[in-house]
Each structure stands twice: as C-alpha cells, then as structure tokens.
C-alpha cells in the first residue's frame, strides 16, 4: 500500500501495455472496469502502439466513456489529436455485436449456400444468436480470436462483463470444447432426429429409454428443434473446436495478460480475490490488480498545524470535524478490505484515488491512464481510531 508498492504494480501494467498482444480486463460491475480498459488502451496508443479496445459488456458504457454516442460492431478509429502531438500509435474502439458476429461466423464458415440458409433460417438460431445470455461469451471468444489475428492491431484490450460472467467468458472455450468432444453432440446427431421428423422406433432399449427421459425433462419438440439446430451446423464443428482450442491457448499464452479491477467496497474486493484465485488455478497470466475510487482519509493528511483558524465559528468547526470523522471511517473500512487482498495477491496493488470528476472524454481517460501508470496516489497512512476520537472532541 505504500507508494513504492504502487509503483511496482504500475510498472507491471506499463510493461504489459508495451509487450502483450491481448489484455483482458475483468472485475465486478461498477468498479470502473470499462474506464480502466479504455485508459490503458489509450496509454498504449500514446506510446506508439496500434491498439483496439473492445467491450463485450452488453451495457453501452464504453461508448459513454469515450464520448461516443454509440459504438458499432466494427472497430472505429478514434481521433487522438485533441490530446496534442503524438507518435505513430493509434486507438480503435468497438463493441461486440453478438448477433452480427454470429452471422458473420456462419457466412464465413458454412460449407455452402444451403447450409448457410438452413442455419440463418433456423428458429433456434434466430433466438440464440441475439437474445440468449451465454451466447455473448461464445461470440466474444470468436471475436477475440479474429481480432488478435488482425494486422491492424498489435494490442487488443478486452473489457468484459461483471465477474461472474467474465468467468463464463474464460470458461467458454472449455465448455464448447467439452460439448463438442463428448457424446452430447453425437446424441443430438443420432439418426432418429434426422430430417426433421422424429422416429420413435429407436434401435436399442437404452436409446428408447434416454429419449423417454429427455421427453419428460425437456420435451421432444424442443429436442427436435435443438437437434435441427445442431444438424444445421454439421460440417462446421471441426472449425468450432479448432478455434475454441486456439482461444484457450491464446488466453494462457505469454502474449496475453489479465488485469483485475476492483472498487474499495468489500463486495467487489471479495470478487476480485475470487477471480484472482480462479486465474491462478487455471494458470492464466495475471498482470495486475487495480483498486479504483479509493477514498482519502482527511484526518491522516495533517502536517504541522499552525494555531488559530480565522473565519471558522464553533458550529462550522464541529460540522467539519464530524464530516472528517465520517470520511475517515469510510477510508478505514476500505483500507481493511484492501489489506485483506494484499495478504494474498503476490503482486502489489495499484490504488487509484476517487477522481474529482466523472470520466467521459479522452482527456479524462488520459489522466486516469497516467495515474494508473504512475502508481496511483498512495492513500494516506494508518492512524489509530482512538486518536481520531480524541481529536474530534478536542
């Protein structure tokens, strides 16, 4: 929590921005994750890299923090000239459009026109591709792979949905691989589901038994539709599996890194810790942990204090002291949570103080980025609560 620690954390961030090709920024909701992702991407661009920042969060936050009304599903170059003269870097931004990514995937990989139409017209597909939760993660995975191979960018910074779902994202390649690997798929592709008509005359008793159970749990009509859907993708599975394996490898490789973002509230710190453990378990490359919006402790900021305070009457003095005690309590609450995290996370945390104003333009993002890379501001040192009480009354 001291300044040198923060600087070491910042150095790790700066090194990652200079070297890696993929940075995944994860954290709970409302901790400034999108802003952190955009600020890091901007710093890398100002250092001369060609950077794309992509949000897979269904809420339109990145658009707001970049001062854009809406971001399309395609990378869009941002004008960095308001920030003054700079090197040869460039910053692009985009938002993941699940439906369009899925469609493009089908367009690109379907073995022929008939197969293509069969998928795009499938009732199940039309719902799955745009509306269902979970499909975001699959498509994010496909998109990440595509973007990481795009020559225009030498760094992709990926903003993710809140923790729980970012974990879904991490696990999406494995889940898809598991699905494509096992008998699940073969089960759906069994002959009795073929050709849109359901033949209940199955060859084996086990088959009939399984079918009967499936009917009770999910319904045969649903299963038939589902198998139609899976059959429509026949010929594309090898490709799916191959790409899932590639993302899996990409996310574990030396060129990738994970930046965790938390807020100072206990809930978000707990989630960051949970996520940190999962990353470690899965052998994912961890880069650093950023704690945003840390509140200062006004009672710990005192230097040598001269006597007398002109213009402050007793009532105002009392109100001011009460406010300072309140703010100090918040600072203590936060410090306790942060200390718990520091006990376990091997790398130093980067603490960013609460900012004076909301960030919603490039200039603000640049300031945040500079704070992130300069060790934040070290929050004030600890003081004993008893001391505060005495002063409050004095």
């Amino acid at each position: 929590m001291t300044a040198p620690g923060g600087r070491r954390g910042s150095r790790a961030l700066a090194a990652a921005l200079g070297e890696r090709r993929v940075l995944v920024v994860c954290g709970a909701g409302g901790v400034g994750k999108t802003t952190t992702a955009a600020a890091l991407a901007l710093q890398a661009a100002l250092e001369g890299r060609h950077v794309l920042v992509c949000t897979i969060d269904p809420a339109r936050r990145l658009a707001t923090s970049l001062g854009l009304a809406a971001l399309g599903g395609r990378p869009r170059p941002l004008d960095l000239s308001p920030l003054g003269p700079r090197g040869h870097g460039a910053l692009w931004a985009m938002m993941l459009d699940t439906r369009r990514t899925f469609d493009a995937l089908v367009e690109r990989h379907a073995p022929g026109e008939t197969a293509r139409r069969r998928i795009l017209d499938n009732r199940f597909y039309r719902q799955v591709s745009s509306a269902l939760a979970g499909s975001h993660e699959y498509m994010a995975m496909e998109k990440l792979l595509e973007l990481s191979a795009d020559d225009r960018f030498d760094l992709v910074v990926l903003d993710t949905p809140p923790t729980r779902h970012a974990l879904d994202f991490l696990e999406a390649p494995e889940r898809l691989m598991g699905f494509l690997d096992t008998s699940v798929l073969r089960w759906f592709l069994k002959p009795y589901f073929v050709a849109g008509r359901l033949t209940l005359k199955v060859a084996t008793r086990t088959g009939a038994f399984a079918l009967d159970l499936a009917d009770r749990v999910l319904g045969l009509q649903f299963l038939q539709d589902l198998s139609e859907f899976f059959l429509a993708f026949e010929g594309m599975y090898a490709g799916f599996k191959q790409r899932a394996e590639k993302v899996h490898a990409l996310l574990r490789g030396e060129d990738s890194g994970f930046v965790l973002v938390a807020g100072p509230a206990r809930t978000t710190l707990d989630e960051a810790l949970y996520f940190y453990r999962r990353l470690r378990e899965k052998d994912m490359p961890f880069v650093g942990l950023v704690v945003n919006r840390v509140h200062p402790d006004p009672l710990a900021e005192a230097g040598p204090v001269p006597r007398g305070a002109a213009g402050v009457d007793a009532a105002l003095a009392r109100a001011l002291l009460r406010l300072m005690e309140d703010q100090a309590r918040v600072a203590r609450r936060e410090r306790r949570g942060i200390a718990r995290l520091e006990d376990e996370v091997s790398e130093p945390l980067v603490l960013v103080p609460e900012l004076e104003a909301d960030v919603h333009d490039l200039r603000g993002l640049k300031e945040v980025g500079e704070l992130l890379l300069s060790g934040g501001r070290s929050p004030s040192r600890r003081r004993r609560p008893s001391q505060l009480q005495a002063q409050g009354r004095g």
Binding site: F124, V128, L132, P306
Partner: protein, 318 residues
C-alpha cells in the same frame, strides 16, 4: 407511498448498474417489507449471498433460510436448480440419478445458452406459487425480492423467457418459459425496481433499463431507488464560507492535530458530491416517470444491521 405500491405486488425484481448497491437496497427493502408484517423471501442470483452478511446472519445456500423471523434468503445456483428440476420431473430416484450422473447431461447444461437463466427464473416462479401449507390458499411468501444481475446482463437475463418461448413453441421448455413470462409481464404481480447512484453512468443505465423494460421485456418499472446520495450537512451560508476559505487557501488549526486545509478539502469533496446528488435527482425526476426514494451514502465503518435498518426507515418514509 412508494412502499405501499411495491408491497401490493408479489414479485419485485431489482436491477441497475453494478456498484450502485443493489444488494444493500434489496436487503433494506426486505426489512421494510418485513416491518409491514410481510413474509419475505430475498433471492440472490448474481453474487455470493450478501444479504445474510449485512444482517449479521450466517451464510445461506440453495435452501431458503430464515435469517430473521419472517425474512428468508436464498442463493440460487443454476446447476443445482436444474438438478432439482430433473429430480422432480423424473420422480424415480434411480432414473434421476442416472441422468444427473451422465456426462452428457452435465455438459449439455453447461453449454446450452440460456438454460441456466431459464432454470433460475423457473425456480423463482415456483417460489411465487408456493403455498404456506398443502391445501392452503395462503402463499408461503407474501413478497419475493429478486436481486437480479446488473443492467447489461440483467436485461439479457430477463429476456431469456421471451427468447425461449419463441425458440421452443411446444414442450415443457416453451411451456415453462411462457408461464415465467406471464408472471414477469403481469403488472399486478410483478414490478421492476431500478437502482441507481448519483453518477453519470449509473443514471444513463437507469434510463436504458427503464426503456428496455417497457420496450423489450414488457415489464413494468414501478420505483426508482437512488442510492449513495450525499445529503446536505452544511447550511447554505456554511457552504459559501467553506468555498471562500478554500479559495483563500485559509490556514490554521481546527482541533489538535487537525489542519483547516485538510478539513476544507474534505468539505469541498462533500459539497461537490452533494451538488452532483441534487443534479442527478433533478434529472431523474425529469426523465423517469417513477416514484423515487433517495437513500444516503453510508459512512459506517461496517455495513451491518443498523446501517440496513436506517435505509429501511428511509424507504418507509419515501
């Protein structure tokens, strides 16, 4: 007023931007409802269970636990809910076990988009339909509060029954999806409560959620809770004095070891937050036609039962 309207529903779904304190607000709302004699179930689906911690009760899991008399909490895990569903539908234990143990089932559930969400919402519907006793017409819970995922994912979460009912017109999946949809879209039984904080992005997302609820989800938002409000603690004159002294870089000592500059910096931070709070209160009142409850920012060293009860009293008074 706001509470009266909410308490005449059966199901309250809370959503809003992450970090706005949905769990705290949900718990306070549950306490307020309990204070009116309602039997309340608080359902958490997105996060490790927070409510019992705020109330100083031990952690609860997938079974409803009575954390205070008449106040229950439950933490739903989609996979466990799906297992329970299979057991209930299949009935014969041996058969159910065979399904549950099969790798096909496990992987299918893990990979099928939307199925976990559908299962969670289905379970919430089961809670809504539950009776106090067999042959009783009295519901087991008067009010069910759902701490739903935050905005972006919350909208996709609530959209699942709609998508599933379209994707599966026949069979148990489509049938259940339509029943869930009927519950969510019934303005008599269900209301959406939007949680926000006085910050730009949280306010933008509150508006976005309001729009999506009406246009895409067919759900009715009934109340807005603006959490983490910084309320005025100085008089107008005092605020003016603070800003003037700060501008003059006034030096001096406020108390032993406490310098005036630090106090003025703290006060300016407060005044800025207080103004932002008022600004966003005004904007939300203009753009969202919803009754609003403003809850104060908590300065407590620990967020515990007394903090939550203070918020509950504010909801009661709104």
């Amino acid at each position: 007023m706001l509470l009266d309207d909410l308490l005449s529903r059966r199901l309250l779904v809370l959503s809003g931007k992450g970090g706005t304190g949905k769990s705290v607000v949900g718990t306070a709302l549950a306490i307020a409802a309990r204070g009116r004699g309602k039997r309340v179930l608080l359902v958490e689906v997105d996060a490790p269970l927070e409510a019992p911690r705020y109330l100083g009760a031990p952690r609860t899991g997938g079974r409803e636990a009575e954390v205070r008399p008449g106040l229950f909490t439950v933490n739903l895990d989609p996979a466990a809910v799906m297992d329970e569903y299979v057991r209930r539908v299949v009935r014969v234990d041996v058969l159910a076990r065979r399904i549950l143990d099969s790798p096909v089932y496990r992987r299918f559930f893990a990979a099928a988009p939307g199925l976990p969400e559908l299962m969670l919402l289905g379970k919430i519907m089961v809670f809504e339909e539950a009776r106090a006793a067999r042959f009783s017409s009295r519901p087991r819970y008067d009010l069910i509060l759902v701490d739903a995922p935050s905005t972006g994912h919350g909208i996709s979460f609530l959209k699942v029954p709609l998508a599933a009912s379209r994707a599966a017109p026949a069979g148990p999946v489509g049938h259940n999806a339509r029943r869930i949809l009927a519950l969510l879209q019934d303005p008599q039984r269900t209301a959406l409560v939007i949680v926000a904080a006085p910050e730009e992005m949280a306010v933008v997302e509150a508006q976005e959620l309001h729009r999506a609820a009406l246009e895409e989800l067919g759900m009715r938002p009934r109340a807005l809770v603006l959490n983490q409000c910084h309320e005025a603690r100085f008089s107008r004159e005092q605020e003016a004095d603070i800003l003037r002294l700060a501008a003059d870089a006034a030096a001096g000592r406020l108390a032993r070891g406490v310098g005036l500059p630090a106090a003025l910096a703290a006060a300016r931070r407060h005044v800025r937050r207080r103004k932002l709070t008022q600004f966003y209160q005004g904007r939300l009142r203009r753009v969202l036609p919803l009754p609003m409850a403003s809850l104060p920012y908590l300065f407590d060293e620990d967020i515990g039962p007394s903090s939550i009860e203070r918020l509950a009293r504010r909801i009661e008074a709104a």
